[in-house]
């Protein structure tokens, strides 16, 4: 073996200083910067939610005015959707692990990758500035014509969404090209870890959905500067058109949000059950299937908005098909546990609570596709709960699980296992206390985005607020545990979990070019041995 002295230094130590990070083209450092930014926004968005949930303790004013409350839920929604869960897993963990899992040195276009990070920062800056400076309160859904009265805030928000979208197109494109051209010798498509299939499916959705944002922005600009009536009824425009555009992007976006979580869950379950994922191909294809079906169901957000009965019926029909790939995955993950060797370490606790939450998230999605029932449930707390079960309970939980799973690899440190487990259990309890009651309150007829509510709903609101406090304690414990490990943690071995995918074959943290020698792949991603009978 030839010694490459410099290549062996881990990526954190190759160069020092802030500048070395800001101009780096190393996918790992870019991933880490994304991770830090996204977590920061997660805390920011969470703080707003925490505050307005406290406000909801009583039906009257506690400490926020209605306008402040409305601006807070807008800030919360916009930050969480556009700055946290949509870019989230691909930008942070995908950036770090896509090249390593296929045995490559970097992504196909490293400079483009850095560009996408800067676009993300710029987009985030504009989004926050537009809401704060413009006192915007229209919610993340930006329905016209109400949102148009918030101009120029809504225009700037579209500009921000577009820049952020562009950033994610670049990431998606980069991943797809990398997976097509840079796989290590022997890394066939069906030897790719399921996380990569998920990243691939997400990449496709990012590339196809985001341009619609650009079109919407262009139309909004035309309306604003030339007075052409497009969305604004006062100018003869059609406000429903805005909803179509919005959901044509945002429905695929909900799958951009959740599919990466599927990927992480597959990795964690395989590693901690020491099992090959049951029905690998079904799981891989179902990510791709979701990516495709996700494009033709946007109208299910508009069943009561005033589109034709025919359109409602077709959208309902198509929506039910999204349930099938989701169901397949849940069954496959469950079956993977059978005859495994299951170790309930922190990441596995997150993967199991993902299964719990995603099952609820998926099942509550199906009921919303039942037309007659959705008329009653639409725009109530039931919807709020449904999408939090998916976006927070599934995606963010998978994300946090993934951070724990890959933490030793990314930082070279082990966090405290006991604290990690306790935090995970606290998060599980807090999350479910917060959101399960919202299903009940919603189906009883409590509308969403209500500052003031009827006394009969107070008990549900209070339970939910207690849940948020528990959730916050859990999340902070997890965060502090991770941060403390940077100083106090034991040095991580190359493969602390005994996992099989390629990232565990290199050092923790990996050297600058990931591997000292190009790996040669001879088997599938989860080729675990079996106990001798």
């Amino acid at each position: 073996m030839i010694a490459h002295v410099h290549d062996n230094i881990n990526y954190l130590k190759t160069k020092k200083g802030l500048m070395s990070w800001l101009v780096t083209v190393d996918h790992k450092r870019i991933g880490m910067m994304y991770l830090a930014s996204i977590l920061l926004f997660f805390i920011t968005g969470g703080t707003f939610a925490f505050l307005f949930r406290l406000e909801l303790w009583s039906p009257l004013k506690d400490f926020l005015t209605p306008d402040q409350y409305n601006q807070f839920f807008t800030l919360h929604g916009v930050i969480m959707v556009f700055l946290v869960v949509v870019p989230g897993i691909p930008a942070a963990l995908g950036n770090f692990f896509v090249p390593i899992q296929i045995g490559a040195k970097d992504l196909a276009f490293p400079k483009l990758n850095l560009t996408s990070l800067y676009l993300y920062w710029i987009g985030a800056g504009i989004a926050l500035w537009s809401i704060v400076a413009g006192h915007a309160d229209q919610g993340w859904t930006m329905y016209a014509p109400y949102s148009l009265s918030q101009n120029p805030a809504v225009l700037w928000m579209m500009v921000a969404a577009f820049i952020l979208g562009f950033s994610s197109i670049l990431t998606g494109l980069n991943f797809i090209v990398t997976m097509h051209t840079m796989r290590a010798p022997g890394m066939t498509w069906y030897r790719m870890p399921l996380f990569l299939w998920a990243m691939y499916a997400t990449g496709i959705m990012q590339i196809f959905a985001t341009p619609v944002l650009a079109i919407t922005l262009l139309l909004l600009l035309m309306e604003n500067f030339f007075g052409i009536g497009i969305f604004d009824p006062a100018l003869g425009g059609d406000p429903l058109l805005m909803q179509h555009f919005f959901w044509f992007y945002s429905h695929p976006a909900v799958y951009i949000i959740v599919v990466p979580g599927f990927g992480i869950t597959s990795e964690i379950i395989a590693a901690f059950a020491k099992k090959d994922i049951f029905g690998y191909r079904f799981v891989a294809y179902s990510s791709v299937a979701i990516a495709i079906i996700g494009f033709v169901v946007w109208g299910h957000h508009m069943f009561v908005a005033g589109q034709s009965e025919l359109a409602d019926t077709i959208f309902s029909f198509l929506t039910f098909f999204t349930a099938i790939p989701s169901a397949i995955k849940v069954f496959n993950w469950t079956a993977t546990l059978y005859k495994g060797s299951i170790d309930l370490k922190t990441p596995m606790l997150y993967a199991l609570q993902f299964l719990w939450n995603f099952t609820i998230g998926g099942l509550t999605g199906i009921i919303l596709a039942i037309l007659s029932v959705d008329i009653h449930l639409h725009d109530t707390y039931f919807i709020v709960s449904h999408f939090h079960y998916v976006a927070m309970g599934s995606t963010m939980i998978a994300f946090i699980g993934g951070i724990h799973y890959w933490w030793p690899k990314m930082t070279g440190k082990m966090y405290n296992e006991t604290v990690g487990k306790l935090a995970s259990i606290t998060v599980f309890i807090g999350f479910n206390v917060t959101f399960f009651v919202q299903l009940i309150m919603g189906s009883l007829g409590s509308p969403r985005r209500y500052y003031h509510y009827w006394d009969q709903f107070q008990i549900y609101h209070q339970i939910s607020t207690v849940g948020v406090v528990i959730l916050a304690v859990g999340l902070f414990t997890a965060l502090i545990n991770l941060i403390v490990s940077l100083w106090k943690g034991a040095t991580a071995p190359a493969n602390p979990w005994g996992a099989k995918t390629l990232e565990w074959q290199t050092d923790s943290p990996p050297p600058l070019y990931n591997f000292t020698e190009t790996p040669i792949v001879t088997h599938g991603p989860y080729a675990f041995e079996t106990e001798k009978a």
């Binding site: 209605p66 306008d67 409305n70 309160d137 329905y143 014509p145 109400y146 009265s149 006062a234 059609d238 406000p239 059950a273 099992k275 090959d276 029905g279 079904f282 908005a305 005033g306 009965e309 409602d312 309902s316 039910f320 098909f321 349930a323 099938i324 397949i328 069954f331 469950t334 546990l337 059978y338 005859k339 495994g340 060797s341 309930l344 199991l352 299964l355 719990w356 609820i360 099942l363 199906i366 596709a369 039942i370 037309l371 007659s372 029932v373 959705d374 008329i375 725009d379 109530t380 009940i440 009883l444 007829g445 509308p447 969403r448 500052y451 003031h452 675990f528 041995e529 079996t530 106990e531």
Partner: protein
């Protein structure tokens, strides 16, 4: 039939509850079954196959089983297709009003509702006869609102420049809340009213009175009524407290600072403020008041002015 609220659903008061509630309950049990199945399997597998020594491996590597995988593709497919049909059938019934309905026009505006009856009555609550199909033709004066009667399981968005319709048939008398469920600004959560379901003869009597609301009233009394019925009270107080708009107490004859300079509040200014609210906006307030041009009759305008003048 038991009309009370259940654990999951609000009280029942329309024929739609016999469409929506059984579908909801059916689905609830399907979900409980699948959720229970998954949770039980995960729990059993986790504890049965828990790793007991650090180097313990799996006892088998089962990579796939086509029969199993096809069955958990096809069985859910059959179930969701059945759900689709159940939902569609109910939905089409809920969207198409049967013949012989009575119609009421609904107008939404920030942040109140008004109901207009064919005979000319205008009211801020919806009054309807029991056991009669009622169709609501709805439109908005400003932004999108949504009209939701939980006890009836009826809802539709209310859009500017467009008429959306819902229909329902109430099954018992009583007062049932109506909520706005599409976010519409500052006081979205205060934009609620009620449906009063009454016996047909009570309804007829009410309608006759409501169709000529000014009858037997002085202009001030009529103005006070309109203040309520037309939703002015959503934004203007009469006790001097600041709302979304300026209070009416002591308004007449006052000097107001507006974006067009100082104004003396007289009849001309009051009328202009109702017809073209954005012409002069009092400093410290947003230009959010809806336009009442073509909405209020001359008699009503006069009554409102008389009422405002009376608020010293």
């Amino acid at each position: 039939m038991d009309n009370a609220k259940t654990f999951w659903l609000p009280e029942k008061a329309s024929t739609f509850t016999s469409i929506v509630d059984p579908a909801f309950d059916l689905y609830l049990w399907i979900s409980v079954f699948f959720f229970g199945l998954i949770v039980i399997l995960i729990t059993v597998f986790t504890f049965k196959y828990l790793r007991r020594r650090p180097d313990q491996l799996a006892t088998a590597q089962i990579t796939h089983n086509l029969t199993l995988e096809l069955s958990w593709t096809i069985i859910p497919l059959i179930i969701v297709m059945a759900l689709f049909f159940v939902g569609m059938k109910g939905f089409l019934h809920m969207r198409v009003a049967p013949s012989g309905y009575m119609q009421v026009n609904v107008k939404g505006q920030k942040w109140s509702w008004s109901f207009e009856y064919p005979a000319g009555a205008v009211n801020d609550t919806l009054v309807v006869p029991v056991n009669t199909p009622v169709k609501l033709a709805m439109t908005s004066r400003d932004v999108i609102h949504s009209f939701f009667i939980p006890a009836f399981r009826a809802k539709a968005d209310v859009l500017p420049n467009r008429w959306n319709a819902i229909w329902f048939q109430a099954t018992r008398t009583g007062v049932f809340p109506v909520e706005c469920t599409q976010y519409c600004g500052t006081n979205h959560s205060y934009m609620w009213t009620a449906v009063k379901v009454v016996e047909p003869d009570v309804y007829q009597e009410w309608l006759a009175n409501a169709s000529d609301p000014g009858k037997g009233k002085t202009p001030e009394q009529f103005g006070a009524l309109l203040y309520q019925k037309r939703g002015c009270n959503a934004c203007h107080s009469i006790d001097g407290s600041k709302g979304v708009g300026p209070s009416w107490k002591g308004l007449y004859g006052r000097q107001e600072t507006t974006n067009m300079g100082m104004v003396m509040v007289d009849e001309a200014y009051l009328k202009e403020s109702m017809m073209v609210p954005t012409a002069k906006v009092v400093t410290g307030f947003q230009p959010v008041m809806p336009v009442f041009q073509g909405v209020l009759s001359d008699r009503e305008i006069a009554a409102l002015m008389a009422y405002i003048k009376s608020l010293k």
